[in-house]
Amino acid sequence: MISRFRIGPAVALAFLLLGAAFVLLPFFWMLSLSIKPAAEIFAPGIDLFPSRIEWRNYAKAFAEVPLHRFLLNGVVVCAGILVFQIIIAVPCSYALAHRQFGLRWVIFGLVLAGLLVPYHVTAIPVFLGFAEIGLLDTYPALIIPFIASVFGIFLFRQFFATVPAEIIDAARIDGLSETAIVWRIAFPNAWPAVSAFAIFSVVAHWNDLFWPLIAISDPNLATPPRGILFFRDEEAGSDFGPLMAAATVVTAPLVIAFLAAQRKFVQGITMSGLKG
């Protein structure tokens, strides 16, 4: 009876292609609307493609809101977060993997416990603290909450643990300081883990809306998703063509990165399943 339910390979493939088309539909629709003249967007009837390409939507998107500013903010915030995450996590991971000290297991325990905490949980006290010291509505407000990445520490520690102790010992005998060993021996060796973590981190923070929505009210500091909401909530937001143009511009960097480096990208993102 089971074999009767077997779907022919052709039918299965047809469903797969149909599903893929549905999954890609929003991307296609976004591109299509972003180059459609306004009159056609609001015209009744279904036109998958615009009759002519309306580049003015893109010009409008950049003119109505400081879209270039949102992108720049996204780059500054993502780069800032990533650089601090690595500067802080790598030495700690190295020490946890290759040094013996009393608090080692306590600190590793903190790392594991930290993995259980979604960052939403810390938002209210961190906001209160930042308000207290007048840090809201600044770049640091967008960067600081994420600089101690327990996920990064955990990941790098697992990676460093596979570096043979002999290599580290040899470097010590050669007279390298521990700091030099961290950055000149361990860090370059951990490149696969670092690059995967970098993708994970940049994707998470480029796309994040929750924290920028809380920490920022100045549109000039908005990250791309926050900026999209500023745009949408303005009067210009009912101008669908430019809104879709803005959405395309904001989505493009990561989608292009994904298409260019698929293996690495998928690896970096699926790793996050480990994270709480």
Partner: protein, 301 residues
Amino acid sequence: MTYRLPPAVGEALTNAWLVGPATVGMLVLIFGPVLAVAVLSFTDYQLGAQGFAWIGLENYTVLFTDPIGQRAVVNTLIYVAIVMPASMILALLVALGVHRVASWNATLAGVLRTAYFMPVAGTLVAMATVWQMLMHPNVGLFNQVLGLTGVPGQEWLSDRGIVLYSLAVIGIWETVGYNMVLFLAGLTAIPEHLYDAAEIDGVRPGWDRFWTVTWPLLGPTTLFVLVVTAARAFRVFETVATLTQGGPGFASDTLVYAMYREGFVYFKAGYASAVTMVFFVFVLTLTLVQFGVLERRVHYR
């Protein structure tokens, strides 16, 4: 237990230099705030207020008895209950299909994989505005297509009875590719000789083979995907904030959105902390299960 002498001062300083920043960061940015939010959840503290009073469990009582609080909890559970199974079943079917396609056309399989994973790479807030276009009551593609078939259009995002399901569809769309990649990894790890052995034992190809060989061996992967998907679904926020703000009439309110609204729009820090704690307990339970699952995955090898 032997008493250890403290290490040389130089060594201690080196250790402090290496692990100090990370430890301070974790304490100040993670564990301190977790403690603070737990404490705040028993107070009536309002952002900007001079003082506060201890009110015991009142915030929690309100959350679980007040119709609006209940809605957030129930909506979140409904959302998870839809997105989790639907995105898993679809992802498994897609993974099985792509895996099979890969055996005769690796390029096509790669293209399909890329297509299904695209939503994971897309910026969700931007893509949510596209869904808003697709679901637009007048000029949206969905209602226009429905119009062709004579079915009346729906108010996808402003009908109380539909809005949560519309958000769930977007959630499924966003999650299938992610789960597909995890299932594909699981499928690739199944050794070919087990299929050969099953064939010798008279197991027919197709669903028969799926239930006797693939499904049991995929068990650890499935458990892992289940927990990861649920944990992601519990965090639903971007689509709610972009498309509905929890409305209409709290019909699409969820825990994380309620936390945001109560805490940062209405400034009720105490109550928002209680919402946070309830969310945290849900996710914590799941994550602990996940660690158990990971442990099992290790033992299977």
